[in-house]
Every structure is written in structure tokens, then in C-alpha cells.
Symmetry: C2
Amino acid sequence: MVGEALGTKLAQLGHQVKMGSRTANNESAAKWVKAGGASASQGTFADAAGFGEIVFVCLKGEIALEVVRSVSAAVAGKVVVDVSNPLDFSKGMPPSLAIYNTNSLGEEVQKALPSAKVVKTLNIVNCEVMVEPAKGGNPTMLVCGNDPEAKAKIVALLKSLGWKDIVDLGDITKARGTEMLLPLWLNLMGVFGDVRFGFKIVRS
Amino acid sequence: MVGEALGTKLAQLGHQVKMGSRTANNESAAKWVKAGGASASQGTFADAAGFGEIVFVCLKGEIALEVVRSVSAAVAGKVVVDVSNPLDFSKGMPPSLAIYNTNSLGEEVQKALPSAKVVKTLNIVNCEVMVEPAKGGNPTMLVCGNDPEAKAKIVALLKSLGWKDIVDLGDITKARGTEMLLPLWLNLMGVFGDVRFGFKIVRS
């Protein structure tokens, strides 16, 4: 869902987008390619990682690191946007976090891809809001990562998606705080019965 | 700081406030009492717990449970507002959390005070903002706890402090999500160089 929402919007904005899946001919991805027109294509995770100038990690938390490690060579030197969250559904609902407090999935992705420039962002809202921030009341988007140029590139991309209020939190260790927003996000989804909301950082 | 800020504002609003400390004649509390006038008094933690109709827990996370357990009998049947956070400074700065993910300090306070009605709130902003939400850009205040009447009483009290946007998250287990906001809060304090901010939940 997250990859399709981002891929569709990015293709609409004129980017060439290759959707990576476990198999080269994944059925859902094929449907997405058919709907997406000339800018959309599909392949394996390795194909997508090799194709993209910017590579988005939109994976289930439990599988993210395994997949990321498998494409390490293909993303060397590239900007990798980690949109995933380390949600642990193994202990029932609501999910807890599998990585937390003194570590984060964002840091683990950066460790797994030492030659890539990992930027953590977008993981704090639903995918509908990721590609249309007004749908979530125009919340604040949080960005972190170790490479300033990579962050600047992604901030520009976020602006093209409609994000107006973007805060740079610092290096990739700051992913801890954004991933630890998830329990509250899940709680609020239950309270509102809706995914179209977000967190706006306000000041006097 | 938190207890003094809340105590001062509550006294200004016409409440009788007794500040509890380790000793009955704590020097800082004595200064606060002198400045606070006829509505302000001081005593031990047990004195304050016995005095209040509503008891605020504004303690350092590392000592909170020990103090709370020591006043268990005195707060039976009362509303206890847990404002504290389980910050762990023992591993250096920034502090991490000592309780997290599948548990919270709020839940531990409720377990330590089985006959009290614990409400977790105010822990997500600096004490300046607690007593003057406009100073933090009028963020959202989050409330949780097992007793609906206790929450209604505290929501009314929050409104009297100036809070306009208040969301009831549910039972005391929802304290997990609010306490896990602290790493991001600490991060943002560093980015802004200021404590006067907060989180506004926005929707389309």
C-alpha cells in the first residue's frame, strides 16, 4: 500500500518508478504498472534497488532488514528513504515495537547499507497522507539522516509531494523518536476510526 | 519545577495546594509557600497525599514508583494525576526510557496504587506550557486512565488551565504512547533550543 501510494504519486510527478517485489512478475505490482502508464515498471527488489537514483524502503518491519541486506551492493552511494516501522504483530494487537528506545530500524537500515545515505521520513503518517498532506490536516513531517545533501534532496522531494512544514531532527539516531510515535499513532487511529491525521509541531 | 509550576497556577485558580517533599520543611517548597500566599502549604509526600482531593505525581522518573508506593494508603479512592516520565539518565544524554513499549510508568503507578484512579496527562509538554498552553502554540493535550469520572474531572481541570484541544486516548495502557513521545520531545528541544512547543493532532 505504501509503495503503491508513493509510486503512483511520484510517477504522476514525472519520475520513473520501478516497483520491487519478491518476484519479478508480482501480480499486485503488475496491476499497479498497468494503471501507472509509461513511467511505471516492476521487477525484483534487486531490480528496483539497481534502477532507482532514490530507493524507497516501504517494507513490513519484520522483513525490512532481510530485504535491505539483500540489495546492499545495488544501493551503494544512493539515497535510501526508509519509510518502514519496526512493528511487531507477533504479540497480538495493537502491535508493539520490535526495535526501540536505544536503537531504531532506521539505524539498522543504515548499518545494513553502510555505503548508502539513509534518510528516515514519512513513517509517521498513513500513506494517503504521505502523498497528500492536506488530507491529514497538513501535519509536520520529520526527517533525519547522517548525510545533509541526501536530506536536502529528500526535503525537496517532500515539498513536491505537498509537505510544507518539515523539521530536520538531525542524524539517523533521531529515527528512534519518530518510530516511537507509532504506538500513539495506532492509538489515535482507533480513537478517530480514521487514518487521515498527523502530528503538527506547534510553537508560540 | 513541574510541581511548583502546577501548584502556583492551581493556587492562583483558587485551589488549596500542599507541596509534598522528602522532608516536611524542604527549603525550596518553603520559598514556594512564601510566594504562594494563603492557598499554599507544604509537608512531606505523605502529608500532601493525605491533603489533596486530587494528587499530582510530579516526580523524577527514577524515584516516582518508590515515592508513590509510600503514599498508597493516603491516596485510596482519590484521583492521582501522573505527570512524570520514566526518563533514564544513567546511560548519558539524551536520556532514554526506563520503561517502554509494552509497559509504562503510568501503568506502574496505577498498579502501585490499586485503590486510586490514575490519570496520565500533561507529561508531553514542558511545565511552562502545562500551565499556559498558548505559550506552546496551543498543542493537543492527551489524557488516559481507567476511570471515566476521574478523567472527566481532570479534563475540566485542564480546561481551567487553558487547554482547549484534549483527546481521551482510553485506558491507562495508552500512557505507553504518550511516554514514548519523550525522545522526540527531547530531540525537538535541542533543534529549537526552546521548550515552548508541543504536538497538535491535526485532521483534514
